[in-house]
């Protein structure tokens, strides 16, 4: 297993190099010029050219790439054209809200979806199964921002239980209490979890229902085991591999989902940083974020692969 992990980690390097090159080229070749955005509405061509020179954008693309990638190998992702701050510092400032949103959403989605999907499989065709099917369709179909606005209207405007927007950091010099931190995130978690509950519950239902038709389940029941033990120990554990796979894919999809949720709830996370950077053509920030997201994808995939070892003893690396 150690060799497998090492091999996978070493394989990350060329992947990241290719990703960095592709992103770098796409940004340079796509329309838009950070210097023109920075210069503002009243600028002249001379002013734009001066800014391009200062940012080093007048150099050849190859030379720009070599300078940037050289710095990346030293742990320096560059400086934001706009915010005049190191990209690493910006990512550090924004990672907490995004992690809090993503991890909380996944935990909530798993806590709701796996039991729901398992019960729906156990009582297939029953009322819970039908409700779950309806909910899954709704969860996939209704856009995240619509769910967000509805929840805000109910819990923040009508009932005044929860805040409309904002984020209070859990760490740092002005850290909020755990409860204050959670209050800000309850609605975003619920909003974003909706689609993942639908996704994970559907896969859990399908996977568990398939497992329930296997011979070993009949054997377990014949042995006189309780339905709870049959479901949890035999059916669910054997159905776990596809569920974990879909959760892994879900994490990847979360990166897109957080952008909308962060916008609706005014949460200053990596999603908003990405949108701002793209709109302003803040190349160093976009490049840094893409590298970070790529690393996150690779790491999550590795974790999912490793989890198979524990979930299915037949799998060997």
């Amino acid at each position: 297993m150690f060799q497998f992990v090492l091999r996978r980690l070493l394989a990350v390097l060329p992947v990241l190099l290719v990703v960095s090159l592709v992103v770098f080229l796409i940004l340079r070749l796509a329309p838009g010029d950070p210097a023109a955005v920075i210069a503002g509405n009243s600028a002249t061509n001379d002013e734009i050219n001066r800014i391009r020179e200062q940012l080093g954008l007048d150099r050849s693309i190859l030379s720009q790439y070599l300078i940037w990638i050289g710095r990346v190998f030293q742990g320096d992702l560059g400086y934001s054209y706009y915010l005049s701050k190191p990209v690493t510092e910006l990512i550090g400032q924004r990672i907490e809200p995004t992690l809090a949103l993503a991890v909380g959403t996944l935990l909530l989605a798993m806590a709701v979806a796996i039991p729901l999907g398992t019960i729906a499989a156990w009582r297939m065709g029953g009322w819970l199964d039908k409700i779950l099917s309806g909910f899954s369709v709704a969860g996939f179909s209704v856009p995240v921002f619509v769910i967000g606005y509805l929840l805000i209207y109910l819990f923040a405007i009508r009932l005044e239980w929860l805040p409309v927007q904002g984020y209070k950091a859990l760490m740092g010099p002005k850290a909020a209490s755990l409860w204050d931190w959670m209050r800000q995130l309850i609605l975003p978690w619920m909003t974003l979890a909706m689609i993942y509950v639908a996704l994970i519950a559907r896969v859990t239902r399908a996977s568990v229902s398939e497992a329930l038709t296997e011979d070993y389940i009949r054997t377990a029941r014949a042995k006189g085991l309780t339905e709870r033990v049959v479901l949890l120990r035999h059916a669910l554990s054997n159905a776990a591999v596809p569920i974990v796979t879909v959760i892994g894919i879900g994490v990847a999809l979360l990166i897109g989902g957080v952008v909308v949720t962060e916008t609706v709830y005014a949460i200053p996370g990596l999603g908003m940083l990405t949108v701002d950077a793209v709109l302003n053509r803040d190349f160093p920030v976009i490049q840094g974020l893409v590298l970070l997201f790529s690393c996150a994808y690779v790491f999550i995939n590795l974790l999912v692969d490793l989890s198979y070892l524990f979930l299915d003893p037949r799998i060997r690396y």
């Binding site: 329309p31 838009g32 010029d33 950070p34 023109a36 955005v37 920075i38 210069a39 503002g40 509405n41 009243s42 600028a43 002249t44 061509n45 001379d46 734009i48 001066r50 800014i51 200062q54 706009y82 915010l83 005049s84 701050k85 910006l90 400032q93 924004r94 606005y149 805000i152 209207y153 923040a156 405007i157 009932l159 005044e160 239980w161 929860l162 805040p163 409309v164 927007q165 904002g166 984020y167 010099p173 002005k174 409860w179 209050r183 916008t263 609706v264 709830y265 005014a266 200053p268 908003m272 940083l273 701002d276 709109l279 302003n280 053509r281």
Partner: protein, 527 residues
């Protein structure tokens, strides 16, 4: 039964723990403001972004300021004189002015700040051409020694919109204008809390207890600047619906620019009111590219102006009749140089006449490459109207959709439209930026060294030079009218209607000051 009791108890516990959120904003000494854009850049000289300018008004002071009637009044300056030959201006600062770091404001700080500002600002650059040297005879006095008399010294120093000559400590102002400053220390009514600044989320300001306000009543940007809050928070919320919800829930006290679609709802919402602090508002314009066909021909540009009119732009983009008005003048109506004597340009679309003019001008069906910024909600609809109006007059229009960042990059290209260039784009300017011929970008008619569109019209430049030398307001008004006449004749750009963009505040907010589009936090209070 037990389950019901448990559920009810959980619900009650939840409600008691959460509590009404609106209570948070009831602290009358804290003001929460949602600016129209994300505050990303903090240097008001490095960028012309309005949100940065507004931030700067919180923390910096200015030598002069514009009152609600458009008159320039001393602000940091106590007294000033001009020599009989009109070449030596002597300014005395008010006593006791102090920066937030505790150091006194000196004439050295003023000169360093003015030099940096003049290196970036168009009007500052023009003023610079008149200045022979600066002198600082003592810590409270500075002089501008001019090469020749100029009529724009006070206008330039009292300029209200970007770039504003804000005064900062000399060591900070020594930063080249092309580089961003790293420290944000002013002598204004609020102190910027750099340690609490989170770009994209929050900017915090506290009351400057040592601020030396003028004794006059607040009037526009001029007069006293009494502060009624201990802390002002700029909360960045981009989504208009979330802005509305946060205001309704009392989590914020003011939304600078609610969307026009929400205007009627806001007026009916309990606990919220709509206020208008910028009566002069903004103006939509269309800029022609003077380098390439078909708009290299002034007759064809004139035909386009006649084709387009103004009402349809206001109806489509604003949608609230009371917020828009027709204004033919290139200087916004309600400002000092506004003049509705615009000849052939009536501001009313006349496609039949435009068609005739187009025929006379020999239009050969060259398509007009019109750029539309799809991501900039405030102006995204108006290119659609322009396309329709131009086509109704017989123009062939090729509208290309792009984001704003692509548009600003493309408009800097002088290539022919087929080779990546362009023919026309539309934008909006606040009244403060276009109320003076020297500050208006569209009147930069120095050809390829000028503003995008690169009009080469020496008559405009000559008239602007005379304007800069004019001594009296009457003389300046006359010259501004002459400049407008040439601008109309040569169709520098098309004014497409004026509109106001009101703000939304909680009902308990009062004391807002009318300004040229700058939301100021002094004088405002919560009851």
């Amino acid at each position: 039964m037990k389950r019901r009791v448990l559920l009810a108890a959980t619900g009650l516990l939840g409600m008691s723990l959460m509590g009404p959120v609106a209570v948070q904003a009831q602290d009358n000494k804290v003001f929460r403001f949602v600016p129209h854009a994300n505050l990303a850049v903090l240097d008001p000289i490095w960028t012309t972004a309005y949100v940065t300018r507004n931030h700067a008004y919180m923390i910096y002071d200015t030598l002069f300021s514009e009152d609600a009637q458009g008159n320039i009044k001393p602000q940091m300056v106590d007294t000033y004189t001009n020599s009989p030959d009109r070449k030596t201006w002597t300014f005395k600062l008010r006593n006791g002015l102090e920066f937030h770091d505790g150091k006194p404001v000196t004439s050295e700080d003023v000169v360093a700040s003015l030099k940096r500002w003049a290196s970036r600002d168009a009007m500052g650059g023009i003023l610079n051409t008149f200045i022979d040297r600066y002198e600082t005879p003592d810590a409270n006095t500075f002089r501008l020694i001019l090469k020749e008399p100029s009529g724009i010294v006070i206008d330039a120093l009292g300029k209200a919109s970007s770039n504003v000559p804000f005064i900062m400590p000399a060591r900070i102002a020594a930063t080249p204008g092309a580089e961003q400053i790293k420290e944000h220390i002013g002598s204004g009514p609020f102190i910027f809390k750099a340690d609490e600044f989170k770009p994209g989320a929050l900017a915090v300001y506290t009351r400057n207890a040592k601020y030396k306000s003028r004794t006059e009543a607040p009037n526009g940007m001029a007069g006293g600047r009494p502060v009624n809050f201990d802390r002002v928070e700029w909360v960045i919320i981009r989504d208009p619906q979330t802005q509305f919800n946060a205001l309704k829930a009392g989590e914020v006290d003011m939304v600078e620019q609610p969307s026009f679609e929400q205007y009627e709802t806001l007026k009916k919402t309990e606990g919220v009111k709509v206020e208008d602090f910028a009566p002069a508002g903004l103006q939509f314009i269309m800029r022609f590219n003077h380098l390439h066909k078909p708009f290299d021909n002034p007759k064809i540009r004139q035909a386009a102006m006649v084709a387009m009119g103004q009402q349809a732009y206001i109806n489509t983009q604003i949608g609230v009749p009371e917020l828009g008005k027709l204004c033919r003048s290139i200087f916004p109506c309600g400002t000092i140089y506004a003049d509705e004597n615009t000849g052939y340009f009536t501001g009313i679309a006349n496609p039949a006449k435009a068609r005739e003019m187009l025929k006379e001008a020999g239009y050969d069906n060259t398509p007009v490459l019109l750029m539309r910024p799809t991501d900039l909600a405030s102006i995204a609809k108006i290119p659609l109207v322009a396309k329709q109006q131009l086509e109704a007059a017989g123009f062939k229009v090729d509208m290309q959709q792009m984001d704003w960042a692509s548009l600003v990059a493309r408009r800097a290209k002088k290539d022919a439209p087929a080779a990546g260039g362009w023919n026309a784009f539309l934008t909006a300017w606040t009244a403060g930026d276009i109320s003076n011929p020297l500050a208006m970008a569209m009147l930069n008619a120095k050809g390829e060294a000028g503003w995008f569109g690169w009009q080469n019209e020496p008559r405009i430049e000559t008239l602007k030079a005379s304007f800069a030398r004019a001594a009296t307001t009457e003389e300046k008004k006359k010259l501004a009218s002459q400049i407008q006449a040439v601008a109309m004749e040569t169709a520098t750009h098309a004014p497409l209607g004026q509109y106001r963009s009101p703000t939304a505040v909680r009902s308990n907010v009062s004391g807002m000051i009318q300004t040229p589009g700058i939301p100021v936090m002094w004088s405002v209070k919560k009851n």
